[in-house]
Structures are given as structure tokens and as C-alpha cells.
């Protein structure tokens, strides 16, 4: 049985083409995925991300609990409202999910995890929480709208409720603020500035209309994927999974090794991998010939070995095909990718292709 977000009727009204995504009926585009992509790179677009799972963690032990649960360290969150990107690992150092956690109060953190991993995440978090004074509450009463693009904040501020506007206007990048029943974070998954706004379900449809009137165009999950790939942001289930460690997924920077005595889940396994030396790395690829890179294509590195693309697409900004690939550690600046039996040459780059609207 497919689920619908509170904005489903709006998607249909605005001409969204609906597809199944992780059990949710979501808009993949509202006409042209490429136009929606450019809209976010040059102006402002909005995405319904209400299918994502919002979890509030409260209680006296919430900080030590998150220091055990997450590979990144919530102790880095010194200022109220600050957000942190982290992996949640299993004992083998594989990635159960990636998430954003906001520090709201000393006894209140908010996490946003993926829709597709909701059930296993909640079960895992619940299981690990035994012995901690912590309450875990899923906030399925909240809708979430991501407003992204160089003009996103300015346009969103025009329609945010009066009591939310001031806090939203003052947010620095990667901070969030709870304002009554609303929450505004200056975060996103597109490589552009903008907000991620959580609000009561009942207020979401009229807020969506208000944003549209302010010139924020509805964008589907299709554009969300090309935007995140250009921005060099990993997709869970494609670029990293339970059988890949963050160290071979381009996510080593999210692992907080210090302090050494913080015993987060997966730490022992990661330390063994680090001592042994990892054999692979996640890189970006830019296809130098015509064609489209996709996930699970074979990568051949002359004289070194082989790897595989983890996700790929046509980049509307670069007008070339780009991908992430897991390749041997010794891979240099070029490789070849097999597409339908042919080897095509690709340039190996850092996996960030576009930032703030410009090619990197």
C-alpha cells in the first residue's frame, strides 16, 4: 500500500508526474526535470521531502547516546541549532544510513533520516538505546519542504509566518531554528543555499501555494537527484550501503576519530580498516565522450585494476555525463567506463562538480 504525503493533492494539482519512491507516491517531475534543475541552480525551487523520517530524541542521556550511535561526534555541536552530517554504522563499520542531526537543546536533538531506511533505522536506534535515558519519537505529524536556490531564502522569507521570519533571516549556513511548531534549517541536498522547513501537516498545503505564488517552482525527485550528484552529495543505497564503510565511500571526513575514547558503534571495525589501509576510494567521473553514466557500470583503470560506478547521470549544468565510482586507491586522473560493451574514457575528479550554481 503506497503512502502519500500531505502534499500529494498539490503535486497532482501542479501537474506532477507521480511515481513510487520507497513506498511513497511522489512527483518525479512536473514537466521537465532539466528545467527544474536549472530553476534551482539559477533561482528557487521547492521539493516535498515529507516522506523523509524526522526523529526527535530527548532525555538526560541524549548526548552520550548520540555519541555512541553516530560516527560523527555531536560534541562538535557547540552552538544551539547547529547541524551535523553523520553516518550511522553497524558493528562492522557498514553504513546503516546517513542523516542530519540538529542540536536544539541539551536534552533535545532532531534527526532526519532517509525514507527508504525508516523501519530499520527506527528498530536499530531503539535497540541501541537500551540503558540510556532517552526518548525516541518519530515526528510523522510534520511535513517537510526544501526550498533551494540562490533566491530561495529571499522568496521563502516573503511567505514564512511572521513569528518565524526573524529567526529564519538570521540563520547561518548549516544551522536550524525551532519557532513554535515550525522548524527552519539552512540546509539542503542540492549544493545551493536555501531552507529545509518542517511544519505541521495541516499548514503545509497553503504554505506550498504561498511559495508558488512567490515564484518558487515545484521540483520533483528527478531534479533532486541530478542536483545532489552535481553537488557531490552521496545517495544512501547507491554510493554507500551496509556493506561499504565510510572510508571507501568518500565519507572519511564525517568520522570523528577524536576523542580517542569515544566508543561509537563501528569504531573498532573502522580502526582495523584504517590500520590495514583501505584499497578503494570514491571518486567523481566526467565522461569525455558522448553517452550517459549510470550506477553499476564497470570501471577499468589501466595497469591498476577495476571498479564500479555507484551512481551516474547527465549533468544539466555541465552538459556532460557525471558519476561517482568506487575505484582502486591507486587510480590516477583517467579511467574507462564500460557502457553497453564499449569502453569510453572518463576523467577522474574530486566528487564535487557544481557549487553555488557554478562548475567546479
Amino acid at each position: 500500500m503506497s503512502k502519500k504525503t500531505v502534499l500529494y493533492d498539490k503535486h497532482v494539482e501542479y501537474g506532477g508526474k507521480i511515481v513510487d519512491f520507497a513506498g511513497w507516491q511522489m512527483p518525479v517531475n512536473y514537466g521537465s526535470q532539466i528545467e527544474e534543475h536549472h530553476q534551482v541552480r539559477t533561482d528557487a525551487g521547492m521539493f516535498d521531502v515529507s516522506h523523509m523520517t524526522v526523529i526527535d530524541l530527548t532525555g538526560e542521556d541524549v548526548k552520550p547516546f548520540l555519541q555512541k550511535l553516530l560516527a560523527n561526534d555531536v560534541a562538535r555541536l557547540k552552538a544551539q541549532g547547529k547541524a551535523l552530517y553523520s553516518c550511522m554504522l553497524n558493528q562492522d563499520g557498514g553504513v546503516i544510513d546517513d542523516l542530519i542531526v540538529y542540536y536544539l537543546e541539551d536534552i533535545w536533538y532532531r534527526m532526519v533520516v532517509n525514507a527508504a531506511t525508516r523501519d530499520k533505522d527506527l528498530a536499530w536506534i531503539d535497540q541501541q538505546s537500551s540503558g540510556f535515558d532517552v526518548e525516541i519519537k518519530e515526528r510523522s505529524d510534520l511535513a517537510m519542504i526544501a526550498v533551494q536556490g540562490p533566491r530561495a531564502r529571499q522568496k521563502a522569507i516573503e511567505v514564512l509566518p511572521v513569528d518565524v521570519v526573524e529567526a529564519a533571516s538570521e540563520l547561518d549556513r548549516f544551522y536550524g531554528s525551532q519557532c513554535g511548531e515550525w522548524f527552519v534549517g539552512r540546509t539542503g541536498y542540492t549544493g545551493e543555499d536555501g531552507f529545509e522547513i518542517m511544519l505541521p501537516d495541516s499548514e503545509a498545503p497553503s504554505f506550498w501555494d504561498g511559495l508558488a505564488e512567490a515564484g518558487v517552482k515545484p521540483c520533483g525527485l528527478g531534479a533532486r537527484d541530478t542536483l545532489r550528484l552535481e553537488a557531490g552529495m552521496n545517495l544512501y543505497g547507491a554510493d554507500m550501503t551496509e556493506s561499504t564503510s565510510p572510508l571507501i565511500s568518500g565519507l572519511g571526513w564525517t568520522v570523528a576519530w577524536e576523542p580517542e575514547d569515544r566508543d561509537f558503534i563501528g569504531r573498532a571495525a573502522l580502526e582495523r580498516q584504517r590500520e590495514k589501509g583501505v584499497a578503494q576510494k570514491l571518486v567523481g567521473l566526467v565522461l569525455e565522450e558522448k553517452g550517459i553514466l549510470r550506477g553499476h557500470q564497470r570501471v577499468v583503470v589501466d595497469g591498476v585494476g577495476e571498479g564500479e560506478t555507484t551512481s551516474g547521470t547527465f549533468s544539466p549544468t555541465l552538459k556532460q555525463s557525471i558519476a561517482f565510482a568506487r575505484v582502486p586507491k591507486q587510480t590516477g586522473s583517467h579511467c574507462q567506463v564500460e557502457i553497453r560493451g564499449k569502453l569510453l574514457s572518463a576523467r577522474v575528479v574530486k566528487p564535487v562538480f557544481v557549487r553555488d550554481g557554478k562548475a567546479v
Binding site: S32, Q33, I34, G291, I292, R294, S321
Partner: protein, 129 residues
């Protein structure tokens, strides 16, 4: 509602076929197919001179989202390809039945055209999907 010109013939795999009445046919993908695929960004055309049987995969069209094979609606030899599509694959989205045509085929068995669906049958077919 997608456009289905009445003078063309169709396949279940969403190719259209125009009989040029000189032993050749022109082939493309339907309006319905381009809507399903979304923005097209790459087309891989066959070599002129390629000979194939009906239902063999002859081209690949790729949208931002996915790659999709295009099949020979009839058996024959590819005699012309629409090479303008290489630099402008979005033409298929804008004009699936005219400028967005893919290939012309010289029929090896002209009777095969009669096996294809007419517009009404194709319309019924896509309503079932």
C-alpha cells in the same frame, strides 16, 4: 493526453512507423514514450547499412532518468539515421513525430507493416498500461 496521429502504425514497445510507400518506412518513438522517459539527453543511433529483424534492439534513447532500447518495428536495412539528434536529443521531446524521427528502414518484407497496430489499437494499448 498524448498525441497519436491516425496515419501512422505502432508497436507495443512504443515505436511509430510511417509508410513512405517507396519500400521504406520512417521510425520514431511515440509521444507517449517520450512523456514516460522525460527529458532526453542522449541517442545512440545504428550504423547506416545495419540489417536487423523485427523486434531487435536497434537504438538506445536515454533520458536523464534511464536508458531505453528502441526496437525494429519491421525487418530490414537501416538506410538513413537522423544524425541531427546527436547534438539535440531533446528534439524527440519537442517533436516526436516530425523532427524527432530516428531511422529509415528499407523493408525486407513489406507485408510486415500489416502486423503493426493502427492508432486506435495503440490508444487502447496504452490505456491498459
Amino acid at each position: 493526453m498524448s498525441e497519436i496521429p491516425s496515419e501512422l502504425r505502432y508497436t507495443k514497445s512504443h515505436e511509430w512507423v510511417r509508410n513512405e510507400d517507396d519500400g521504406t518506412v520512417t521510425v520514431g518513438i511515440t509521444d507517449h514514450a517520450q512523456e514516460l522517459l522525460g527529458d532526453l539527453v542522449y541517442v545512440e543511433l545504428p550504423e547506416v547499412g545495419t540489417e536487423m529483424a523485427a523486434e531487435d534492439a536497434v537504438c538506445v534513447v536515454e533520458s536523464v532518468k534511464a536508458a531505453s532500447d528502441v526496437y525494429m518495428p519491421v525487418s530490414g536495412e537501416v538506410v538513413v539515421v537522423n544524425s541531427d539528434l546527436a547534438d539535440a536529443p531533446e528534439t524527440i521531446n519537442d517533436s516526436p513525430y516530425d523532427d524527432g524521427w530516428l531511422i529509415k528502414i528499407k523493408l525486407s518484407n513489406p507485408d510486415e507493416i500489416n502486423d503493426l497496430m493502427d492508432a486506435d489499437s495503440y490508444e487502447a494499448e496504452i490505456e491498459e498500461d
